[in-house]
Assembly symmetry: C2
Homo-oligomer: 373 residues x 2
């Protein structure tokens, strides 16, 4: 890692061959060890005479990779054998449709809790399928908090309650996994594997891999068998979760899954979800402290709803934000711009982002305030 | 490439660090140059401070990759600007549902020509959506030929005619692109970019990339704008071709598309589709000549319907087939087993398979016949 002293005014610190500190919201930073292992396995994987991209998805070599990914996922999250671990395609955007297609009956209803951009997209797709209700929303408050579960207007006859436990764009996060009378489905794209989860209330947990789990191109779907059995029938084959729970139906996205397997092994070697959670708490606390300890920066989310993964903040003097983002990039701090729909700044602190990156950002922020404040 | 003389009886020719001749039907062989370029670009891509898997899909660096892939695809196939080039997910299996969902109206009908396993799967999914007719089928003949277009029972009011121009499992291939009164949709998974196509009759061409175009995890959809405008509305956002034709809607499978871009550049540098077609014709002719010139082997498909990509054949003495496949593997000739549903042998001769691989296979076949005939 080569990053110049953020207190200097030097520009472009590297010659371009070095890795920099990458705060991208997704696709996002991967562990360098994982990338080097993949590099080492090109153009021939593990004595099979071809790269991993060129072997049959019915081969023993690929079987072993997918099985290892599945077993590591179960171990890391403490999933019992009642849970199916599926590796699908299409990202969370496809799940927004696939969840109601499977679980929202014609004569039924589903409850949605809307805490940001992704939940808003999820309910839009669900409305194409059937009757949905907004059980809670913080839209009027610019999604600056997660409505407490005690305030939700729940329908006891709902087929499921859909939540977004971490909103990537808006930077808020549930601080507790809800356990309700109906199964909960969560879009955990930006937080899966960043913290231990209390699984009891969930029927299904899904996530695009490209934040904490791997590269873009594979969608993690964890589904409890009791919930799976409640799905509607018949369904289009590829969109029926049962198809993929029963067997490897079609050609999976081999390389993305191969990378996921490596990331899961990396996390397991590091001590698992508890270990990374402690690191993630420390990383985000350092950054929130820097924001709170200054009148130059301000957070956009209420303290009790802040995301550990996506830290959104503004300069009090908003005109300076493009300068901040540009200067940061010149200092090897990449992708600190907020989502195009909300502006400001966002630092995504996923599992694979080294703590050193946060320390460097905090130092840069102090120096930027000193020179521009 | 290290492959022992197939006339010797030596086993396991390599130490496992070498690439072997890979006849896999898909995921399939990729150009070695492409794999080495990807290796070279890990863990940092083109001076961006991160690997290609870790950068935003809205970044300039990724924009350039996807745009280059799109432009090379258009150039190689001679697609006018009336064609949309989409990079989707879910493989041909998802297209089997997505095509009728978009183009089979409730009061309409579609015609299907069934020439093998994949066409059979396609019509099964279409039946979930609406009224479909079998315009022609060679199922009674074990899919050993492609029914001539003059014999098809076409419905002039059909919304589209669906064909499978190359059947990977059964080893047959259309020798001519049909030009009918209604738009033709083809599953070209195993032949896209292996030959020039006469585009006039097509409304849409789709292909899982994992044969001639790239690794698994991205689906190529080429769709003419006139046909696109005929789709039904409204549709689920992610399954509406119009969503993806209009803009980059969601996170694409970045790494698979990055690999596709490299494969397309490789093909362009090699002289394009005409150049590879000449090589492919020569490769397949050599293998068919070896089959036809012996009483020990026999082809499974009529001469006028044979695939240039997937050469299916049997030993007259079928009991010896497992020995053939095992011995071939020991001699560095990988994945020569037929699909699990049909047995026998299959040599997939995709673009990236070197001609030397076919020469080596033909020599091995002669030696195997000499020692086991």
């Amino acid at each position: 890692m080569q990053v110049t002293d953020p207190t200097s005014n030097a520009s472009a610190p590297t010659d371009g061959s070095e890795r920099q500190f990458n705060f991208s919201a997704g696709p996002a930073v991967l562990p360098e060890e994982v990338l080097l292992e993949a590099k080492n396995e090109l153009p021939v994987y593990d004595h099979v005479g071809a790269s991993v991209m060129e072997i049959s998805h019915r081969s023993a070599a690929y079987d072993k990779i997918e099985e290892s990914a599945r077993e590591h996922m179960k171990k890391l999250l403490g999933l019992s054998d009642d849970w199916h671990v599926l590796f699908l395609q299409g990202g969370a955007s496809m799940q927004f449709y696939q969840v109601p297609l499977n679980f929202l009956p014609e004569d039924g209803s589903a409850d949605y809790v809307i805490t940001g951009r992704w939940g808003t997209k999820a309910i839009k797709e669900a409305r194409r399928v059937g009757d949905v209700r907004v059980a809670a929303s913080s839209e009027d408050d610019d999604f600056s908090h997660v409505p407490p579960v005690e305030e939700w207007d729940l329908n006891p006859d709902a087929s499921y309650v859909h939540i977004t436990t971490n909103e990537t764009v808006n930077g808020n996060q549930f601080q507790k996994d809800p356990n309700l009378d109906v199964p909960v489905v969560t879009d955990a794209s930006s937080e899966l594997l960043s913290r231990p989860m209390d699984l009891d209330g969930y029927g299904m947990i899904y996530a695009g891999a490209q934040k904490n789990v791997g590269p873009a191109g594979v969608t993690i779907v964890l589904i409890h068998d009791d919930f799976l059995q409640q799905r509607k029938q018949p369904l289009p084959t590829m969109l029926d979760y049962g198809t993929h729970a029963a067997k490897r139906f079609n050609t999976p996205p081999v390389f993305p899954i191969y990378m996921v397997e490596k990331v899961l092994r990396w996390l397991d070697d590091l001590g698992g979800v508890d270990a990374i959670h402690a690191i993630n708490q420390r990383k985000s606390q350092k950054l929130y402290n820097a924001i709170d300890g200054s009148d130059f920066y301000r957070g956009t989310v209420d303290e009790d709803s802040r995301s550990m993964m996506n830290v959104t903040f503004r300069l009090v003097e908003e005109d300076l934000e493009p300068v901040f983002i540009k200067k940061a990039k010149e200092n090897g701090l990449l992708s600190l711009g907020g989502h195009r729909t909300v502006g400001g700044m966002r630092a995504s602190l996923y599992n694979a982002l080294p703590e050193e990156a946060v320390d460097t950002l905090v130092a840069f922020m102090k120096e930027f305030e000193r020179t521009h404040g």
